[in-house]
């Protein structure tokens, strides 16, 4: 099928299958899935500026479905989500402006692709290391494994001291987040985490949950299940803004996003249901190989110049 806006020819079945897989991952891990969707689009010849903008648009439709499911399951901290939206929108605009600069210099494909690979490898290595450390912790220090339909109140992490240190920074104004079990935290910390996530989102597409979700767990100390749901809730609004700003800059092929989303809608439903059967460490450990797969797709496309 010809996608006239981006000037590409892609099989709609390929897009629907990618959307379906990304939907499952998004619902399960609480990330938009751009670590796979972006490389999958780039691998079939979509220019990188369209990859970024189109993926953001696809994320909006998908996150609505998954966020609603997580809200019903009690996994969304609305207060935290609304605060984060402010920082994320500022970050998304920064990222979109960087893309515009790269488009003018005609090197957007190479720069974003290399940035993608570095970030994906870094995230994968970090989560693997942290999950490994957590799994070595004495069982007494770890919370009991949840039964289906129940969620743990606390989440085990080998670097929980980082979040404790962040909570001690009482840079005013501070806010309390009872839903996430956080007594007091500086507003600036939340905004900074959201802004950085927003820059990644505007620069590399998707919801940048691969950055924001670990940052929420390890830096802010939000339980994994709440981080998953809140991230999705926040992404609906910030990716909506990202879609608008990138569409205005000519970076969105909405037909690609619509076709991908038809597969993602059903996948997101399955992914959200699966979170009920796994505890935080296991979710994080399962996440490890996924960014590596995305990185491999980009490296393949960059080195060979071939498109799938």
């Amino acid at each position: 099928m010809d996608f006239l806006i981006s000037g590409t020819h892609i099989s709609p079945v390929y897009l629907m299958v990618v959307g379906f897989l990304v939907g499952i991952l998004g619902g399960f891990f609480g990330v938009g899935g751009s670590f796979l969707a972006g490389p999958a689009l780039f691998a079939v010849g979509v220019p990188m500026n369209f990859v970024v903008g189109t993926d953001l648009a696809h994320i909006v439709g998908k996150s609505i479905v998954a966020a609603k499911r997580h809200r019903i399951l009690g996994n969304v901290d609305i207060k935290l989500g609304l605060i984060m939206v402010v920082g994320t929108i500022l970050g998304v605009e920064t990222g979109a402006q960087i893309i515009q600069q790269l488009k003018r210099h005609r090197n957007v494909d190479e720069v974003v692709a290399i940035a993608f690979v570095i970030v994906l490898l870094g995230i994968s290595a970090f989560i693997a290391w942290e999950s490994w450390q957590t799994s070595k912790m004495p069982k007494a220090k770890r919370p009991a494994r949840p039964r289906a339909g129940r969620k743990p109140k606390q989440d085990a992490s080998a670097i929980a001291y980082v979040a404790k240190y962040v909570h001690r920074l009482h840079l005013p104004p501070t806010v309390s987040l009872p839903h996430s079990g956080i007594e007091r935290i500086s507003l600036w910390t939340i905004l900074l985490v959201a802004y950085v996530g927003g820059v990644f989102s505007g620069f590399m597409g998707g919801g940048a949950g691969y950055v924001r979700m670990p940052a929420m767990v390890y830096l802010l100390g939000v339980p994994t299940h709440v981080a998953v749901g809140t991230d999705l809730f926040e992404v609906v609004i910030s990716a909506g803004y990202g879609t608008l700003t990138h569409a205005l800059k000519g970076n969105v092929d909405i037909l690609i996003a619509l076709v991908m989303h038809t597969g993602a809608a059903i996948g997101a439903q399955i992914g959200a249901m699966l979170t009920q059967y796994f505890h935080g460490t296991r979710i994080r450990m399962a996440f490890v190989p996924l960014p590596l797969l995305g990185a491999a797709l980009i490296v393949y496309s960059l080195i060979t110049g071939h498109r799938l």
């Binding site: 037909l255 996003a257 038809t262």
Partner: protein, 82 residues
Amino acid sequence: MARRSKETASIGSFLVELVTYAVFVFAYFFLVLNFLGHWLKHLFDQQRTLYAVVALALIVVQGIALEMLTTALWKLIRRWEK
């Protein structure tokens, strides 16, 4: 034993949902998306601001519509099981 039969029933329901959903999406894909292509390309080239608003509206409406469709299918299949 009872739990296993319950799980098998859930998987069966899910497969029915998946097939029904695929039929709807297939029809939607050929009836709607095929005709939208040229109009959206025209908007993209001539009226970028309107294109941005339409693009966002389309993905939001599709997101909500497919959510309603999957939920309705799920409920319908549950009712059949009972």
